[in-house]
């Protein structure tokens, strides 16, 4: 990344010091490079039985009968359970995610359907891949052999794949306890949108569709569990992003005290949201370990991951923009439909994110948005990197380009005319944010983001090339898209710091890492806050026994929440250290300083004390032996950081593409991303996060799609059909950044884990449409695979290569 002149004062960070802002190499790497990672499937559990799940082959069917006799008799089989065997366990419900924040409930009164998911289907299956039975055997090979012997008879029922169809009056009801197939519904209004539309100079009205694609971490999901025969404590290893939530849910399911359950997420091979929800397998594996009295392991295969772990992104936007003759936005209206799949797993999270990120960086006086989530016979859809934002940005940014075309204004110029300015911060949009407070953008400089993106992408140069015409049927196009991202979702995160007798700093945080490098960045923050060397800090994340409370690493929140909790805990421990040293040395505390792990007098001369000497057992010469009774110099602090509001990141992306008119292939010639995530703790890690996010966005824009047939059968269940981009498809990116520190937290940081993934679909669709402008093509959905581009060209009357 270019670390060129930065816009806002870059460093030192508001709460920073010598380590914050430096590209400190990761401490995680050495272990991982030697093959010493510890992912769930690497934890040796001698004597473990392995689980395999029998999954529904039908999208919608009644279960008439299940016969496990033959499976039970198969070699190596320990147990076979069906829905009836576990019906006494409560159905699974992610109460945290389904909760409507009070402010939101009061102001908008959203509807949220509650659809608990049975651990194994009993009478009905609602999507292909739903767990129907579980086989426990001596190993996975034998378990899968026995799966084939479980005899389930189904009576197929009518299948709903299309969300519009699922809302029809006569549609079959997927959940008997509901009045219809609505999963969530919420509407919001600002100003007088109808009047604004009536008086507008120009109105564009379009239907855009964000297509379904998936997180696809390279490590599939896995859970193992063991009851410690000594303590009776249940230990669960899960590659979850939210270990404390898994602990609560598992304890609830099994009727245990949460304190008797320990959930550990050590190394996690990528999550991207897919591992941030609860799954029935996560409940059943610990259950099996308890019932069987031996460890149990389940590791998902890729086909299961693609078809039966959560999906994402499928939305329809019927969007309208109203503008004056100069292109100033007067009003936005959007009717959003979100395909939820078979269960409502995460409530308002995705749909409401789509609502409150639709306006992005633009000033829009009148707004009318409603969103409805719909239950269908497809795999449940939940947050995936961006969580409702890439979808809504796709709709808004495509609509901006259509408006630009309508008015004959350069799309980048149209954007520039509508941006909220840096002098307007904090900016209130008039909407309500996800936590139920009036939505406010805390800081940012959107015009500068766009200015840089336009310059780097060489808009003028591209227009000049376009005037020269296509070369060998290859058409050049340029596209832009901008976004804002409310990051640092609460309610809180926890950090606990202890100074060990050796003087080493032990930091435990509630948020685990799935590759974000917390062991490095959190150690940088702690080192600065306390005044110790970076390598004196050991970080533990993702072990519920290390912190009593925690939320997790989801929603671009870890750095903001866990980072600031760490910072505060570090400052408090620092005070305690200095006070203890003052007592020990018999000098006033305000005369002491702590730097690089040494406490010394601020005056040039004077006694010095290392942390090890202060915290260690060995008393200094002349200090009294420990006396009986309370001493009270424990060098430890636990802090829960509750963010007062969202830290709003932002970005402008641009892409220059070449589309081959004959083959339909799109080549990215230049991809520019300018982002603003406030103060950067570790620029190397930050750049990696942004790059990885963009790569996933490019995948979604051009290659990846989870396709269902009308019968509800997934058609992309392997990596042969579901195309994750390789190194050959992802170009080097041209990155730039500005830094508008967040006033919402001491460190001035904002989240950036998801940001990169938000704009690429919109940018590339805009660029491809721009390239095909001579033919009047309008792009309404992705991915822009060669065959879809050829379809667009054929529809526009252009001959293309045969299919």
């Amino acid at each position: 990344m270019s670390h060129g002149p930065s816009h806002a004062p870059r460093q030192p960070a508001p709460g920073g010091g010598p380590w914050t802002g430096r590209p400190v190499p990761r401490v995680e790497d050495d272990r991982l490079l030697r093959g010493n990672g510890r992912y769930v499937d690497d934890v040796a559990l001698p004597g473990a039985a392995e689980a395999a799940f029998l999954r529904s082959p039908h999208a919608h069917a009644r279960i008439r009968s299940v016969d496990v006799t033959a499976a039970l008799a198969a070699p190596g089989v320990v147990a076979v359970w069906t829905g009836a065997d576990v019906a006494h366990l409560p159905a699974m419900l992610n109460k945290e995610e389904l909760r409507t924040p009070p402010g939101l409930a009061e102001l908008l009164d959203p509807y949220v359907a509650i659809t608990p998911m049975p651990l194994l289907a009993t009478d009905r299956v609602l999507y292909v891949g739903q767990p129907v039975a579980v086989v426990l055997a001596e190993n996975r090979y034998l378990a899968e052999d026995a799966l084939e012997l479980v005899d389930v008879r189904y009576a197929p029922l009518p299948v709903l794949v299309d969300p519009d169809r699922a809302l029809a009056e006569d549609a079959p009801l997927l959940h008997d306890e509901l009045r219809d197939n609505t999963a969530v519904a919420v509407a919001t209004k600002v100003g007088d949108p109808d009047a604004a539309f009536a008086s507008a100079h120009a109105v564009v009205s379009e239907e855009f569709q964000a297509h379904r694609y998936v997180a696809s971490p390279i490590e599939t999901r896995a859970v193992s569990a063991q009851v410690d025969p000594y303590s009776g404590e249940l230990t669960v290893w899960s590659n979850t992003q939210t270990p404390h939530r898994v602990r609560e849910a598992t304890a609830h399911t099994l009727g245990l005290d949460p304190e008797r359950v320990r959930v550990i997420a050590t190394d996690v091979g990528g999550g991207f949201g897919q591992k941030g929800i609860l799954y029935v397998e996560e409940m059943l594996v610990p259950y099996a370990a308890r019932v069987l009295g031996r460890p149990v392991l389940w590791r998902e295969d890729r086909n299961e991951n693609l078809t039966a772990s959560s999906h994402a992104r499928e939305q329809i936007h019927r969007i309208e923009l109203a503008a004056d003759a100069q292109g100033h936005l007067l009003a936005v209206r959007d009717r959003i439909t979100v395909n939820f799949g078979a269960y409502n797993m995460t409530g308002l999270v995705v749909p409401y994110n789509s609502v409150c990120h639709l306006l992005g960086p633009y000033r829009v006086p009148h707004v009318d948005i409603d969103v409805v989530g719909v239950l269908t016979n497809t795999t449940f859809a939940t947050p995936y990197r961006g969580a409702g934002r890439p979808e809504t940005v796709f709709a808004m940014e495509r609509a901006m380009d259509r408006l630009a075309a309508e008015l004959g204004i350069e799309p980048a110029e149209l954007r520039a005319r509508n941006l909220v300015g840096p002098d307007e911060m904090p900016y209130a949009t008039g909407l309500v944010d996800r936590s139920g407070k009036p939505q406010s953008y805390d800081s940012g400089d959107f015009p500068e983001l766009l200015r840089r993106a336009v310059a780097k992408a060489d808009l003028e140069g591209v227009r000049a090339r376009q005037r020269e015409g296509a070369r060998d049927g290859r058409l050049v196009g340029i596209g832009f898209a901008m976004y804002i991202e409310a990051t640092g979702l609460g309610p809180f995160e926890t950090a606990r710091i202890d100074i060990a007798p050796s003087g080493r700093v032990k930091l435990a945080i509630g948020a685990p890492s799935q590759g974000q490098g917390h062991r490095t960045s959190m150690a940088q923050i702690a080192a600065d806050a306390i005044g110790v060397p970076f390598d004196a800090v050991d970080v533990v994340g993702g072990d519920t026994s290390a912190t009593p409370f925690g939320v997790g690493t989801i929603a671009s929140r870890a750095l903001v929440n866990a980072g600031n909790a760490t910072h505060r805990a570090g400052r408090l421990v620092r005070e305690k250290i200095i006070e203890a040293a003052a007592r020990r040395l018999g000098v006033p505390a305000d005369g002491l300083d702590l730097r690089e792990g040494v406490i010394r007098s601020k005056a040039a001369e004077g006694p010095a004390l290392t942390l090890a000497e202060l915290a260690g057992r060995a008393p200094l010469p002349g200090t009294p032996e420990p006396t009986d009774g309370r001493h009270g110099t424990e060098l430890s602090e636990t802090v829960h950081f509750r963010p007062p509001g969202f830290a709003v990141s932002s970005g402008a992306h641009a892409a220059v593409v070449e589309v081959d008119e004959h083959t339909g292939e799109t080549e990215i010639l230049h991809y520019v991303a300018v982002h603003d995530a406030g103060v950067i703790v570790n620029p190397m890690i930050a750049e990696g996060q942004v790059t990885g996010g963009i790569a996933q966005g490019i995948g979604g824009a051009l290659y990846e799609e989870m396709i269902y047939g009308p019968d509800g059968q997934p058609r992309t269940g392997t990596y042969m059909d579901y195309l994750v981009p390789t190194s050959s498809e992802i170009p080097d990116l041209d990155l730039d950044e500005i830094h508008s520190p967040s006033p919402m937290n001491d460190l001035g940081v904002k989240g950036l884990g998801e940001g990169g993934a938000i704009a690429p679909q919109a940018v590339l669709a805009n660029a491809v449409e721009d390239a095909l402008r001579p033919f009047g093509v309008v792009v309404r959905r992705g991915p822009l695979s060669p065959s879809r581009v050829r379809d667009l060209l054929r529809a526009a009357g252009r001959p293309t290569a045969a299919r």
Binding site: L33, R34, E219, Y719, V724, L733
Partner: protein, 190 residues
Amino acid sequence: MTTDLATPDPAAATRAAAPPLAEPSGWHEIRLTVDGASVTAQVESRLLLSDFLRDRLGLTGTHVGCEHGVCGACTVLLDGEPARSCLTLAVQCEGAELRTVEGLAPGDAPLTPVQRAFHECHGMQCGFCTPGFVMTATALTEQPQRPDAADVADALSGHLCRCTGYRNIRRAVCQALDERFAGGPAGRGE
């Protein structure tokens, strides 16, 4: 590693009544070297090499991401050539010389130039795909002549990484090749 670890003790098998007796496929004795140690083991006909390494030998550095030959996470060096251990049966490895990520820099040995390059270029995030990339890159550095850009691109396109966006992986491989073929750490291949 000792041969005993990998060979089921028939008496123990009887006690556990577990995988060996239950296994419906045939059993074979194989001899091979793994990271320089010789191994003799009884394996089922259908046992995948990836499972043999991970479950029988405890070499969990080799990861399984898809079990159908696309992601490359399971790549090991089989007689010096990158091979997908999820598409290879353990019985096929009779007499073979296998190398896994654990064998590159055993114990506290300094990281190899390839491993070091992945660290220095931040060519990894979650680390799950990394051993596969590292083994393929190691094979590239062991060729007699520097592979050209197309060969490198070809080799890398056999691996999926969902975290990094690949740029830093390309830089890492380039750095390792520069170091190997130019006789010292050269530019970072940007």
